[in-house]
């Protein structure tokens, strides 16, 4: 008997499952199909502009820096000034996300824009969030050629563009968006829910920013 059969047989034996019991299968199918939402905290249930404000406030509490711009055309200038203010080289890495590619990068003459996945030698990475959660200041990042996952982790500074229209009140709503985009039961290879820059408290419980992932997380909220 394979390990699979042995484990399933033991589980069924322990739960005293009867062969003719169709109710259990129906209960499972119903839950998988309906995905009940459960308890949704009131905190994020706000009108759009307050929701965006809450997202920015919660992200800042997690030690992310947050900037707001009115339109996506303003993003390259905002990125360039972030780099200047921190004395970072005028270079960044980004994926092929059409929203990022369409931005007027050529107006930032000296800025070198490299495309594709990161190999660990990039000081700064730029991504576009797939969504965001106001409740906890969390970003929703999805893998693919548009926003390679390595950019979320390898650069020292991670800059993320968030469209204000993509900010949901709660985590469940953000997950529902993923479902709408990729299909019921389907997921991209990696979904990263990111809440602030990386940190560790493993030495004497003292929280230090910049563990293995980015030391700094900078959010540019558009709209």
């Amino acid at each position: 008997m394979s390990g699979r059969e042995a484990i399933l047989r033991r589980v069924r034996g322990a739960m005293k499952v009867h062969a003719g019991d169709t109710g259990r299968a129906e209960a499972v199918q119903a839950r998988l199909a309906n995905a009940p939402k459960g308890v949704i905290p009131a905190r994020g249930q706000l009108a759009r502009s307050e929701r965006v404000d809450l997202f920015c406030k919660m992200a800042a509490k997690l030690s992310a820096s947050v900037e707001r711009v009115s339109a996506s055309e303003a993003v390259p200038a905002s990125v360039a000034s972030y780099l200047r203010e921190r004395n970072l080289p005028a270079a960044l890495r980004m994926g092929a996300d059409p929203r990022l590619v369409a931005m007027p990068w050529n107006q930032q003459g000296a800025l070198e824009v490299k495309s594709g996945a990161s190999d660990g030698n990039d000081e700064v990475g730029l991504s576009h969030a797939s969504g965001a959660v106001a409740e906890t200041g969390t970003l929703v990042m999805t893998s693919g050629g548009d926003n390679p996952t390595t950019i979320n982790f390898l650069p020292e500074h991670h800059i993320v563009v968030v469209d204000a229209a993509d900010i949901e009140g709660d985590l469940e709503a953000a997950l529902e968006r993923l479902r709408a985009r990729f299909g019921k039961g389907e997921m991209p290879r990696t979904v990263n829910l990111i809440s602030g820059p990386s940190r560790s408290g493993d030495i004497e419980q003292k929280i230090i920013l910049g563990a293995h992932g980015p030391r700094a997380l900078h959010l540019i909220v558009v709209g």
Binding site: G38, A117, T149, I203, G213
Partner: protein, 478 residues
Amino acid sequence: MEITSPAFKQNSAAALADGQLQKALGNVRAGFIDKRRKAIDALPEFEQLRDNARDIKDHALAHLDLYLEAYEAKVLASGGKVHWAESAEDARRIVIDICKSVNARTVTKGKSMITEEIGLNDFLSENGVRPVETDLGEYIIQLRNEHPSHIIAPAVHLNKEQVEADFRRVHTHLPDTRSLEEPEALLDEARTVLREEYFRADVGITGANFLVAETGSSIIVTNEGNGDMTQILPRIHVVMASIEKIVPTLEDAAQILRVLARSATGQEMSVYTTLSTGPRRAGDPDGPEEYHVVLLDNGRSAMLGTEFQDMLRCIRCGACMNHCPVYHAVGGHAYGWVYPGPMGAVLTPSLIGVDKGGQLPNASTFCGRCESVCPMHIPLPKMMRHWREREFERGLNPATQRYGLKLWAFVARRPALYRLATSLTVRALALFGGRRHRFRALPLAGGWTKYRDFPAPEARTFMQLAKEKGLAAKGRAP
């Protein structure tokens, strides 16, 4: 790893006398409790979420076979592989076979308690594969050849001076003159050393906080980002998960995530919550080429349908040990195996047997704090009592305790004899207690009087006092 749980008492005595450990344990008492309290106070729906989290896991466990099948089908559909391991030995063999398939020499590891449970690191080393722990705490204890003393803060038993000494001993390629006094410098050094390992590794192994049946995704929560580097950079990503990690849907995972980080570190969300589904897709510029899930039973299915089933709801947040006066006093290593604190006291006898782990359920004052903070409402004290009963039934506790209890039971079942015996004892103690009404030493009570005096009782028993006040005659309390 060597099991020293039967020596819990000796381990505890050593722990209490260990000055470094006692200093480090102060961080547990000072850190976790307040942070958790603040996070929970900031979320009015916490109790409702906690109830729902319990109900979700109960539902998942009651339908575990069906959800495991549904989960497996989704993993296969996304291009991943699922391996079923009945035992630790099966799981180790599956992992080494995967490593051998690519001639792996280096394996990076995200934090995973079940790889501790199955003794994976030693096994990999014996088979020519070098395991590298990447979580900062896990990395530190790997350098020291130790095991985690806490399920979410594996190096909580250490002070920074000890970590500095280890880094100087092992990182000999770095200049002796470098400053490592501050935790920031230690973290930076580990970051630099481990960066190279991520790129060198052929296989990355992570644990799983949840497996989602709806999508075939595994979920890990981390703060450092090491679990993510571990899974996106090597060719192969292996997920080690025990069968009870299953939840039905993404929404169910979201509900439990809300109580997990708050209960663990007092964060609202961990920095990185990562959902991984299958290998990299066509057109993906990064991510692993192969995705394997090892589903481990190793004693869990034997807990289903028993008085220990509720323990399978555990989400490994560590709140029970963070609030446990026994853990605060002796730390995690005294428990002698993988899982310490109240959850370890319940889980260890289930997984390694009551003959080896039976001491641990005795390591409780039954103060009940563990159950009161458990986000999954696991009745930990009740389960420890069940284990004590089993230990007694099997005659595993010391003879003096067994005969003492039998003698007490004999007397307690005979009310007249009981009243006589207690009134004589009380009178004798009152008489010999002297003017101070205290005993510095007492036969059969050396364990007590070694550390404090035993107060002499008043000359009458509770029953006698009750009778005098006319309470016993009424047959009930006023």
